[in-house]
Symmetry: C2
Subunit: 431 residues, 2 copies
């Protein structure tokens, strides 16, 4: 595949929050808030995370630095316009605040971004939601500092500039996107993930892995036509900086992923997984993800009866990382021809012992490495194992095609027939 832009892009961008990493880091948030100028802060979490005790422990630590803290378990897992409106209303009635802290996964962090935005800049949620759903208004004031303390090793929410939400009345997933939404500081403390069940570690880890691998194989930034400054997007295609983070993350996953799933008390493996997740957040996410992530939206959204281990049993669900992983082997078989050497290099990084098996077609090497890993860590054996069959393919393709923002970084032009083939071949991944 050769892209031939008439006027090739020469510029790439890189954005990330400041970082404090390591066991104990979550005990120091108060110090960091003081340095950021905060004296009265709102800590946003969700009910499930609140029950672990960590949000209250972080809040106590902050109070030890003389800062007033209010704790709201106002984040809804998968935020909606209704949940965000409620969180904002609750925050307004307890405000004002000059700083925000999020303790939780992507849902808590994204809720805190929306609360910070609306309390700092005023107005209503839909003023800021991306067009055409909302008015796409850019904030005119600087937001108060936000410190993100992730409790799951997979989210990149601590470093992105986006708040993802479902607009219930329209049944559409959209977002608010602005550079000012990026948290000021990410505090990654591996202790907060120690109670994560094996199933969650496996799914979240596949999300990290696919962030790295999709960024590593993404369309190069220099293969696009030159953008006007206002056209630049946070995901600019692979570039020398995203490549560096992707490579290092794949090496960490090769070392630690199976061990962290097998034994959640393996501190070294937990630390390496937290570092790999941080690298996802800080680094390679600037390139962009493509086909597996695009497919993940309808795979998660159209679930009927699947209940994965390690997650709440009340609603059927395909966790995000699992939904991403299920079509990854076939997606990377399809992208192989865009850059064979890069796909083989990824296989070697992810599986140094077996990643250069040449007993088969080279395009089978990376899918083989992925399928071996997924089987070992207990991922379902393809889309059939989470309840889909060939009659669902057309619907899933429709859903994937709605993710044009993601498909734009695919290393091959991708149409409905390509997606249909990838999805159909993903029903069963191994014998």
């Amino acid at each position: 595949m050769t892209w031939s832009p008439a006027n090739p892009e020469s510029v790439f961008t890189y954005g990330a929050p400041q970082l404090k990493f390591g066991p104990g880091a979550a005990d120091e948030v108060g110090h960091d808030l003081l340095a950021l100028g905060a004296r009265r802060v709102l800590l946003v979490t969700d009910a499930g995370v609140l029950a672990t005790g960590w949000p209250d422990r972080v809040a106590e630590g902050i109070r030890g630095f003389g800062i007033e803290v209010v704790v709201h378990d106002s984040a809804h897992v998968e935020p909606t316009d209704a949940s965000l409106d409620a969180a904002v209303e609750r925050a307004r009635s307890d405000g004002p605040f000059d700083g925000f802290v999020a303790v939780g996964g992507g849902s808590a962090i994204d809720t805190a971004k929306a609360v910070d935005l609306l309390l700092s800049d005023g107005g209503d949620l839909m003023d800021y939601v991306n067009v055409p759903v909302g008015a796409g208004r850019a904030p005119t004031r600087r937001l108060a500092p936000l410190v993100a303390v992730p409790t799951t090793t997979g989210t990149g929410a601590e470093s992105t500039t986006i708040c993802v939400l479902d607009v219930l009345s329209l049944k559409v997933k959209t977002g608010i996107s602005h550079v000012r939404l990026r948290p000021s500081l990410a505090v990654v403390d591996p202790r907060l993930t120690a109670s994560q069940p094996a199933g969650v570690t496996a799914s979240a880890g596949m999300d990290i892995l696919c962030h790295a691998l999709e960024s590593w194989t993404a369309r190069p930034y220099s293969s696009y036509e030159r953008k006007q400054p206002g056209e630049r997007v946070p995901y600019c295609g692979r570039n020398p900086i995203s490549d560096m983070w992707s490579e290092r993350s794949m090496s960490l996953l090769a070392k630690a992923f199976r061990a962290a799933v097998r034994d959640g008390s393996d501190e070294a493996a937990r630390g390496d997984m937290a570092l790999a997740a941080t690298f996802a957040g800080l680094g390679f996410g600037n390139a962009g993800v493509h086909v597996p992530h695009a497919n993940a939206y309808p795979i998660a959204g159209r679930v009927r009866g699947f209940h994965p281990d390690g997650y709440p049993r009340d609603e059927p669900m395909v966790p995000h990382g699992m939904a991403v992983a299920l079509t990854a082997p076939e997606a990377f078989r399809w992208t192989f021809e865009s850059d064979p050497e890069r796909h083989l290099a990824a296989a070697r990084l992810l599986d140094p012992a077996h990643g250069d098996r040449w007993d088969s077609d080279p395009r089978d090497v990376l899918p083989g490495v992925l399928a071996d890993l997924m089987r070992d860590i207990g991922m379902p054996n393809g889309l059939a194992a989470v309840g889909y069959d060939e009659h669902d393919v057309a619907d899933l393709v429709d859903g994937s095609l709605k993710q044009q923002r993601l498909l734009a970084t695919s290393p091959r032009e991708v149409g409905p027939d390509d997606l249909s083939g990838i999805l159909a071949r993903s029903m069963h991944l191994w014998d």
Copy 2:
């Protein structure tokens, strides 16, 4: 060398500005300033850089986005308290500004930091200068956004939290240090370095190389006693993130350094050097530098009659990168025993063709790689070649010992006798 902390540090930190990199990036600064909320900005540069035409070109580009721009060539090369006071006074009389842009080397960028600080937070320069020289006051307000556009490939000023200055009446080099001094955005456009003379490329490149190599060999963060949050410093010892940037930077230097010095119009080499310098700024500088940088202060400060090619002839000088390089081979021979494998790995990264020569003592390998490179790019052959002799060693040792902030990240405990030996053996580096 084994460090045995009773309560080992478990936390490391990482900070960096946002980045826009590539030819053409400097034409878009106005767009970035709008996104940061600025409408009337001060562009700070120095007279030498102003003469290249780039500051006016950047200012014109910013005006194209409807932003008012005032240009001050108020930066003094090596800022002093007097030069910063003058720059602040001039800025106050032309203000107010809601954003700042620096176009130049470390001097222009550091001057812009001081101007931003004093215009945003009020007071006098000495209120903020580090104790004991100044009052060490922390800013209570957030600074206006600062966009740094470096014009030399060696400075890390675009990403540090420090403004370095000479206090003339006390004849002391000190600084202002606070996390809020870090620029919001670094815009690295390799076109702005295209006119850099070969001698400047060589010295600045040695500064990059030593940033990478000193960070790579620095004392590990986990070898220190656990710090209280208020004791944390921006340079926390080597860690997984600084290692990654250091490795990648050394690989880029191996590929591009000699070519960029030999032919300044080699665009690929210029681009790789700009990227290596950016990696210095974004990444490995978070670990810290040690003996070569500590020695560089007195080597530059006590110069008598040396006039390097490519620099202004009006005053004698040893450029910073050259001053750093002159004791690097002997410093790394002395640090070898702290981690032999790491020193040998650095030699291989910096010189893949010859970095694993084993015809001599392993501790000679890295010094040999450095001396070969320095000879090839026209560095002086040791301290004698810039005017020092054995009678100067005691004075130079005194000067190095004043840099305890830097020596704290040395991988071996370093005393006067160690420095004396390193300096004495650095008089002549090759035959």
